[in-house]
Every structure is written in structure tokens, then in C-alpha cells.
């Protein structure tokens, strides 16, 4: 509760709204005690005095009545009527909602049908019909406004009640033979009460505005008594000659409604944890780059060379070092496997290369990634965009979430081509069908017109692959492309990727958690743990003789190469949270060879020939084996 209040106070606008509102309410409460002139006494000699006239701070209206006094009394009336309408609507609506939600079945059905019918009206029509039946008057306007808001409460409260009515404690009470009404009173009501209060506070502004509106139309409060709405309505005929009589009540309504809105927004933000964590921010077109220094470009003839890459996530005050000085290289036509558990930073590494890490919260804080000698990390967005999907393509993990749900797959494929090449619609469509053929989708012609939800998981992943192939790229980064699929489909997709790679001489970076897949596809492998590379080398050598204890465990998880889906649950313990890494070896808490030395100081990635390992007590002495495997 105190945290909640704190959040509201910290939100300056909400606090301002709250203060304005509080002032208005206090003024309305003390109005009878203030030395004001009587609000309804007319004085035709003093008609339409301007503001600051002697004796009348805000002037007088068309009958010479003191505006300040009428304003305060009117505010008092408007607030009271709005509040009363909110209470009445809340009580009746909640009662209906609780009964419907608690008893369910036919009762619920009949009641909610009725509520839906009421909601089919534009609210004012219903209110006008009620006032027409009851006759104009403030009480009747109040009843009308309360009545049109009952369905809103009924529907909200019903939803909450249905949830509670199925909970164990209600079942228990029923079994204990408690009567329905006692259960509602003792078990249900206390639980829905907070919701009722919140719903009431969010609608009270509406109620004030609606009753003021009816009064403005002459259907609410009747002369000589005036609420803010009827003050405005009466002043309307003198709008042009004496605008101040309109402005005074109008501004007061504006203040009240704005105060309520500001406060309401603050309350909503404070209650909605998604907004609080700042999660509802949009990722930018490319990941933010904030590098303090840029390392030298790597030498050698690699197609893609990642060097000392660092990517962090800033969430609140915590900083997650998702990628911590990672270096990788891929030669033309080569397949590099990047393997690790979820949270090891392997996907973030891959996404960082093309600036696709969501930002905020992600920031690339160091390192570089050279593609044919150009640093992708430091590249301006316009140049980077032209490489994306054209020279370097992605295959994402979950094809249902990663394909646009509302566009036909053929159009999505065609778009991949047209954003990079000036080809006509028909040609792009024809290319799309060809691509679907290439990834062995039967009936490609008709499948191109399908929406993603109409395809099977395996088909969708084939579409994802086709999209990556669209512009014949040099490199494909495949981010766990088979994890969401079942075993047989997985094998088909892997075979397809392997064929395509060989046929086209593609370089592939294959992100996975499965050593079986790596063994099947990859020439070399880099093993990642807690944001760092802990071992790398040719696949055969690493598989035959893993040097890092973690690698050995990963391999041990694979029962037989190339078969079935495997999870890494068999390694005891969990990877450490990367915002709070232990000093020394990050794997130490889970390593059965860990010594005191492991927990002290930085352990370097120690290269020997084609292999390298980051461990003080490796399983294999690489220098003895010569690193050739």
C-alpha cells in the first residue's frame, strides 16, 4: 500500500491531479461554512457584472446572482450527484454481477444477455429514454446516469466473481453446507470489493460529466438550484455578450475531469506491473550501440568475424551481461555451431550481429562484428538495413510468432525480395512460389496464398527458411530453427538445411542447445556459458574429446547422435543469473572439479591450435593432443 502511494506521488502529473481534486473536494465540503452570498438570490440591478466587480469576485450571472457562490454550490452539487450515481451504479451493478457470476449457468446466461442488450445502446439514448419516462429533474438525471452505468459494473464484477467462485475455499464452504447468500457475503464480497472500488473511482469522472451533461441539456437540475452543467446551460444564451458566465463553470468542470483523469492514469500505472517494469517500450529499428572503445578488426579471410562483442540489458537498476567479450569467426561455406543452455547468451550474440536485440533494454557496449571488412556494429542504420535479409539472413525459432499473422505467406516472401530488389509484383510472387518449391513445400502455388495459422509447424518453419533464402545470402543465422518442432519434422528440416547449404555454398551460424544437431551439421563449434565462449574447436575433435567440463556434460546429455529431441535438464543446477556473476569461473557452482583457484580471478580462453578452452583443469590436455583431434 505504501509502495502504491509512493508510486503515485512519484508520478508528478498524477500527484498534481490529486492535489487539484483534493482542493476542489475540500472547497465543496466547506462551502456552507464560507462567507458567501446566497447563491439563489437574484438582483436584477447587478446583472452580468464582470469578474473582480466589487463584492462579486467572479462577477454575476444573468439574474445578478453571485457567480462565485453559485460556482461553489454548483460544484458541491455536481460532485455529490456524480458520487451518488457512481455508488448506486456500483452497488446495483456489483449485485447483478455477483449473482450472475456466482450462480452461473442459466441465471448467468439470462442476466448477461440483458446486460449485453443494455450495452447495445449508445449510453445517452438510454439515459434520455429514462429521463423522458421519469421527467426532467436532478434526481431523475441521477437515476438515469446510474442506470446506464450498471451494465459496466455488472460485466466487470461478474468476470471477477466467476474466477473466485471456482476457487477451493468457495468449494469448501459449499461442502460445509454454508448457504449461498452467506458464501457470497463472507467469501465472495470481500474479494471483489477492491475491484468494485477501483472500477468506481475510474468511472466517477464520467458520472460527473454525464450528470452535468444532462443538466446542461435542461434535463437535470431545475432552476433556481444549479449544478455546474445547468450553470453552463443557462449561461449559453449569453455566451456571446457575457462569456465569463460560461467560462467560470466550464473551467471548473475541466479542472475536475482533468484532475480525475490524471489521478486515474497514475493509479493505473501504479497497478499495472507491466508499465512499472518499463517492459512496454518499443524496440528501436536497430540495437543501441554505446561502445567505449572499438577493438582492431580481426585479420584472416573469414566472412564474418565477431570480436570481443559485449551486449547488456539494462532492466531497472540491474545490468545483465548477456554477451561478455565473445569472439567467433565463420569462413565462407562453413557451418559454425554455437551451443549452450537457454540464457547462455548464444541467441543474443547472434541477434547483436545484425542489431536485432530489442533496445531498450539491450545495448551493445563493446566489440565489433565484421562482415567482409565492414563493421556491422558501428554501421549506420541505412547501410545495416540493406544487408539485413539480403547478405545476412535469419531463421527464427518459433515460426508461428515470427511470421506476420495477417499477411499471406506468399506476400511475406515476396516482400523479402522487393525490399531489396526492384522487381514487379508478379515476378516477386513467382519467385515466392519458387522459394516454397525449393524448401519442398508441396502445392507451393496454393500454399503461397495461405496464412501462417493455416500451416503446420513444420511447414511454417520451411517458410521461414525460404524467407532467409529469398535473396541468396552469404550467411544464414539459424536460431534454434527446429526446437519448436517434433522429432520427425525436426530431422526433415535439418536435412533440408544441410542440402541447401551444400548446394549453395552458404555459411551458416547454427544456434542450438543440442550437440546431436551440431554433430550432424557443423564444421566447428563454440560452446557458450553465462555469456562467454568456454570452448571452441572443430566439431569432431570437441565431440571426441571435450576439454571443458561443461562441454563434456552437454555431450553426455545426447544419448545417440542425431536422434530425438533432447533437453539439458540432466545437468544439475542452473546457469547463474548474468547480472550477478560469481568471480572466476561461472561454471564453478555446478562443476565437480571446481577448486578454490577456479573462484579467483579471470580465466582466459586458452588457445591450442584450432581449439581453445576456458578452464583451469580441463578434461583433456589439449597441448598433448595437439589440438587437431
Amino acid at each position: 500500500m505504501t509502495k502504491f502511494l509512493f508510486l503515485i506521488v512519484r508520478n508528478r502529473l498524477a500527484a498534481a491531479g490529486g492535489i487539484v481534486l483534493l482542493l476542489v473536494v475540500v472547497l465543496a465540503l466547506v462551502t456552507p461554512l464560507l462567507p458567501l452570498q446566497p447563491p439563489n438570490v437574484t438582483d436584477t440591478a447587478d446583472r452580468f457584472l464582470g469578474p473582480l466587480a466589487p463584492g462579486h469576485l467572479l462577477g454575476t450571472d444573468h439574474l445578478g446572482r453571485d457567480l462565485l457562490s453559485r460556482l461553489l454550490w454548483g460544484t458541491r452539487l455536481s460532485l455529490a450527484v456524480g458520487f451518488a450515481a457512481a455508488v448506486i451504479a456500483a452497488v446495483i451493478g456489483a449485485a447483478i454481477g455477483i449473482v450472475a457470476g456466482y450462480f452461473g449457468g442459466r441465471t448467468d446466461n439470462v442476466i448477461m444477455r440483458g446486460v449485453d442488450m443494455l450495452m447495445a445502446f449508445p449510453y445517452i439514448l438510454l439515459a434520455l429514454a429514462i429521463v423522458a419516462a421519469l421527467g426532467p429533474g436532478l434526481m431523475n438525471a441521477l437515476i438515469a446516469v446510474a442506470a446506464v452505468n450498471v451494465p459496466f459494473f455488472a460485466r466487470n464484477i461478474r468476470g471477477i466473481t466467476v474466477g473466485i467462485a471456482n476457487k477451493e475455499f468457495v468449494e469448501a464452504a459449499k461442502l460445509a453446507g454454508m448457504g449461498h447468500w452467506r458464501i457470497i457475503g463472507l467469501e465472495i464480497l470481500p474479494n471483489v470489493l477492491p475491484v468494485i472500488v477501483i472500477a468506481m473511482s475510474t468511472t466517477i469522472g464520467w458520472m460527473i460529466l454525464e450528470t452535468a451533461g444532462l443538466s446542461f441539456l435542461g434535463l437535470g437540475s431545475q432552476p433556481p438550484v444549479a449544478d455546474l452543467g445547468s450553470m453552463l446551460g443557462e449561461a449559453r444564451s449569453a455566451l456571446i455578450t457575457n462569456p465569463h458566465t460560461s467560462v467560470v463553470p466550464g473551467v471548473m468542470i475541466l479542472f475536475i475531469v482533468m484532475g480525475i483523469n490524471l489521478l486515474g492514469d497514475g493509479v493505473r500505472d501504479a497497478l499495472d506491473p507491466r508499465l512499472r517494469s518499463g517492459a512496454l517500450t518499443r524496440p528501436m529499428a536497430a540495437t543501441t550501440v554505446r561502445r567505449e572503445s572499438v577493438p582492431e578488426a580481426a585479420t584472416g579471410e573469414s566472412l564474418l568475424a565477431v570480436r570481443d562483442l559485449e551486449t547488456r540489458f539494462h532492466v531497472g537498476k540491474r545490468i545483465f551481461r548477456a554477451v561478455n567479450k565473445v569472439s567467433l569467426t565463420v569462413a565462407p561455406g562453413e557451418c559454425l555451431g554455437v551451443i549452450g543452455e537457454s540464457g547462455s547468451g548464444k541467441s543474443v550474440t547472434a541477434l547483436s550481429v545484425m542489431g536485432l536485440v530489442a533496445s531498450p533494454p539491450g545495448v551493445i557496449t563493446g566489440g565489433r562484428a565484421d562482415y567482409r571488412g565492414a563493421d556491422l556494429v558501428g554501421m549506420p542504420y541505412r547501410k545495416l538495413r540493406r544487408l539485413r535479409g539480403d547478405r545476412i539472413a535469419y531463421i527464427f525459432q518459433d515460426p508461428l510468432a515470427t511470421l506476420h499473422p495477417l499477411y499471406r505467406v506468399g506476400d511475406q516472401l515476396a516482400e523479402a525480395i522487393t525490399v531489396h530488389h526492384a522487381v514487379g509484383r508478379a515476378e516477386a510472387q513467382a519467385r515466392a512460389v519458387e522459394l516454397l518449391n525449393d524448401v519442398r513445400i508441396p502445392n507451393a502455388e496454393s500454399r503461397a496464398r495461405a496464412y501462417p495459422h493455416e500451416l503446420s509447424g513444420g511447414m511454417r518453419q520451411r517458410v521461414g527458411i525460404a524467407m532467409a533464402l529469398a535473396n541468396a545470402p552469404d550467411i544464414i543465422i539459424a536460431d534454434e530453427p527446429t526446437t519448436a518442432l517434433d522429432v520427425t519434422v525436426q530431422a526433415q528440416i535439418l536435412a533440408l538445411l544441410e542440402d541447401l547449404r551444400r548446394a549453395r555454398g552458404l555459411a551458416v551460424v547454427f544456434i542450438t542447445h543440442d550437440f546431436g544437431v551440431v554433430g550432424q551439421l557443423c564444421d566447428r563449434v563454440s560452446v557458450m556459458y553465462a555469456g562467454r565462449v568456454v570452448e571452441e574447436g572443430p566439431t569432431d575433435a570437441v565431440l571426441a574429446a571435450p576439454a571443458h567440463p561443461y562441454t563434456r556434460r552437454l555431450i553426455a546429455c545426447v544419448p545417440e547422435l542425431g536422434q530425438g529431441r533432447r533437453k539439458l535438464h540432466s545437468i544439475p543446477g542452473l546457469p547463474p543469473p548474468v547480472d550477478n556473476l560469481p568471480e572466476g569461473c561461472a561454471f564453478a557452482p555446478r562443476c565437480d572439479k571446481a577448486q578454490d583457484a577456479c573462484r579467483r580471478g579471470e580465466i582466459p580462453l586458452d588457445p591450442t591450435g584450432a581449439r581453445a578452452v576456458r578452464c583451469l583443469y580441463p578434461e583433456e590436455d589439449l597441448s598433448v593432443r595437439g589440438g587437431t583431434g
Partner: protein, 315 residues
């Protein structure tokens, strides 16, 4: 697609029936004797009894309801005693004026609201976003009738750009330009609140969508940022924006009542208020049923638009 529309139209029948039942029940609450109200206090008891028989008021309520419903289905909404003309004629005349006003406002608030919301989301926390957020806050807080009055003071009285009120100039008016000049202020005043609400919702819908995986896919394909926002993201966000447009249309229609009073617009809202003040019950009843039925139909159109947009709900 045709099947879906037919299904939605069929489902509207019980709703329309419900609307007539509700209106009829509310009107049955009326204290006193409608015949006396119509004839005034000079009527003799014989006159009253005769009128009651003419109006069918001496029969039980369910019978009266079905007679009323049957007549309405044949286009007979009864006769307005205060205007001495068929209710349906008056309602149709007035409703067309309201349609011009509310329709324009609705188009305005939908276009401006979505535009503002998208820009706001695309420039989240930027200057444009802050300016829009502030304008939206102001917009949703100002009562439309007060805003209308202030606009009259400023644009019609002070600057003399636009006519104070009415739908056409009394002398020499009547053309489209004349209509637009009269329409500008009321249409804008009416659209402000809804624009704010739609802008707000569009902003959060866009922020929600922009975090989705398929947006990242579009970027990975090399799609430019403008296209990502206006095509990929907006299309997906429309799925949650369209239902709100339907709801806001109801609010625009409701707000039209105030605006029609402020600007002396000869619409159905002003007609209803006048009818209530003169206790012309048949006119109120007919007007409310007619407008509510139109609103139900409009909402079906919204649902159909939604299904056109989202292939997943098309059945």
C-alpha cells in the same frame, strides 16, 4: 465471408428485439396518463377515453408491445403530437443531419486518433510523443459542450471565420461549401474526446505489437522502419483498434446530442431533447429505437471489417 455476415445479421435480431423491449418497458414506467398529457388539461374524460382506445392504451402491456412492434416493422412509428407529423419522417430528416455531423466527426477522430497514436508510439518518449500525450490528456478532459462554446467565442465571434450555428445559412445558403463552413466547428468539437481516446489506445496497441517477434522478422528481412510501422505494426494493431472505434462511434453519437444543442444543429439529439421537454413520448420512443437499431447495424459492420482484417476469425 457471406456466411459470416449472415450469421452476424441473424444474431442482431434478438438484440434488436431486446432494445425494443427495454425501450417499451422504460416508457411503460411513465407516471400518469399519456392521453391526458397529449390532450392537455382541458380534455374531457370522454376525449381521454376515446384517445386511449385509439392509441390502444386500454389493452394489456404485452399486447400493446406487439402492436407497437408490428407497426414499427411496417415503418409506422406513430405520430408526433407536438409536430403533427409521422414520427418516422421526422426521425429520418433529423437523423440524416446527425449522420452528417457524427459521421464527419467519426472519420476525423479515427484518422487523427490513429495517426497520433502511431506517431506517438513510433517516437516513444520523444518530443512528438510527449506533445501528443499532453494534447490527448487535455482533449479527453474537456467536456465537448464547453469546448464547442469556447470555439464559438473564438472562431465565430472573435475571428469571425465561421458561422455561429446552424447547418445552412438562412439566406443564400445551401451549397456544400456552406455546409462545410457550418460543419467545421461542431464536427471538430465533437471529435476531440474520441480522438484522444483512440490516440491513447492506438499508442499502446502499437507499443504492444512493436514488441512482437514478427516485427523483428520484418526488420531482419531488411524492411525499412517506415514500412515496419505503417504496414506490419499498424495492420496488426488495427485488430485491437477497430473494436474501440466501434465503441467510440457510440460515444460520438452520444456526444452529438450536446453538440447539436450548442450549435443549433437540426439533428436527432436536439429533437429528442425537445421531445422530452414537450413530453412527446412517441417521438422519443421512435427516435431512440431507430438510432439504437442503426448503432447495432453499425457495430455489425465493425465486426465484418474486423473479420476482413483478421483471417483468423473468419469462419
Amino acid at each position: 465471408m457471406g456466411g459470416y455476415i449472415a450469421k452476424r445479421l441473424l444474431s442482431a435480431i434478438p438484440v434488436l428485439m431486446g432494445i425494443t423491449v427495454i425501450v417499451f418497458s422504460i416508457m411503460a414506467l411513465i407516471p400518469g396518463d399519456p392521453a391526458t398529457a397529449i390532450l392537455g388539461s382541458y380534455a374531457t374524460p370522454e376525449n381521454v377515453a376515446e384517445l386511449n382506445r385509439d392509441l390502444g392504451l386500454d389493452r394489456p402491456a404485452p399486447v400493446r408491445y406487439f402492436i407497437w412492434l408490428g407497426n414499427m416493422l411496417q415503418g409506422d412509428f406513430g405520430r408526433s403530437f407536438s409536430l403533427n407529423r409521422p414520427v418516422i419522417d421526422e426521425v429520418l430528416d433529423r437523423f440524416s443531419a446527425t449522420l452528417v455531423l457524427a459521421g464527419t466527426s467519426f472519420v476525423l477522430c479515427a484518422l487523427l486518433g490513429i495517426l497520433a497514436g502511431v506517431v506517438s508510439a513510433a517516437r516513444q518518449y520523444g518530443l512528438a510523443d510527449k506533445a501528443i500525450t499532453f494534447a490527448v490528456l487535455l482533449g479527453i478532459s474537456i467536456p465537448s459542450f464547453f469546448l464547442g462554446m469556447m470555439m464559438i467565442l473564438f472562431f465565430a465571434v472573435r475571428l469571425q471565420w465561421l458561422p455561429v450555428s446552424g447547418m445552412y445559412a438562412i439566406y443564400g445558403g445551401g451549397g456544400l461549401v456552406d455546409l462545410l463552413r457550418h460543419l467545421a466547428m461542431p464536427a471538430i468539437a465533437l471529435s476531440v474526446v474520441a480522438t484522444g481516446v483512440i490516440a491513447r489506445l492506438s499508442r499502446s496497441a502499437m507499443l504492444e505489437v512493436l514488441r512482437q517477434d514478427f516485427i523483428r522478422t520484418a526488420r531482419a528481412k531488411g524492411v525499412g522502419e517506415r514500412r515496419v510501422i505503417w504496414r506490419h505494426a499498424l495492420r496488426a494493431a488495427m485488430v485491437s483498434i477497430i473494436p474501440v472505434l466501434g465503441i467510440q462511434a457510440g460515444f460520438v453519437l452520444s456526444g452529438a446530442v450536446y453538440i447539436e444543442i450548442v450549435f443549433q444543429w437540426p439533428g436527432v439529439g436536439r429533437m429528442l431533447v425537445d421531445a422530452i421537454l414537450t413530453r412527446d413520448i412517441l417521438l422519443v420512443q421512435g427516435g431512440v429505437v431507430f438510432v439504437a437499431a442503426c448503432y447495432v447495424m453499425f457495430n455489425i459492420a465493425v465486426d465484418v471489417a474486423q473479420s476482413l482484417l483478421d483471417p483468423r476469425i473468419r469462419t
